[in-house]
Chain length 104, copies 2
Amino acid sequence: MVHESKGSHYAVIFSSQRTEGDKGYGIMAEKMDQLASKQPGFLGVESVRDSLGYGITISYWDSLEAISNWKNNQAHQIAQQKGINDWYQNYSVKICKVEREYTK
Amino acid sequence: MVHESKGSHYAVIFSSQRTEGDKGYGIMAEKMDQLASKQPGFLGVESVRDSLGYGITISYWDSLEAISNWKNNQAHQIAQQKGINDWYQNYSVKICKVEREYTK
């Protein structure tokens, strides 16, 4: 049985390749997960990383404004800068409007 | 240095939890990857699955029509049915419009 729904919300797709070594990443990632989940407009997150350090995290938000507020959050800004400098060899961020959804 | 671009294209987010055992999944997944990449409007794919069988695959397409054509592709339909019956404990498919993109 496949359930279909439509709704107006947004997804932020974050794909990344980690550098080698932890460098404080684990603790910060957990902090940011917790902080994100408390932001207005946060709907949920799904995340997976493989043994080679390649990962995809998708967070869901109820508006572009909520995404923008989270991007500009002060603690998150510090984490983003450390991400650019230390934690990610490369990454991409895609902001998407969810048009349609099916689940099993 | 962060590169920013805008474009009009679409993402299909497929999140899934595999059942236990291969059951012909590996060969079919490879076949479908190859077949998808030959479809009109296919732009790319990124995929990751962890050791517990949880995975996210995101394929990118230039139009909703291209996504619909791929969904209705006959060989893909057979694979989708086997996915529902045998390979996935649960899954979700989200069709999204990519509004904005940053890369490092």
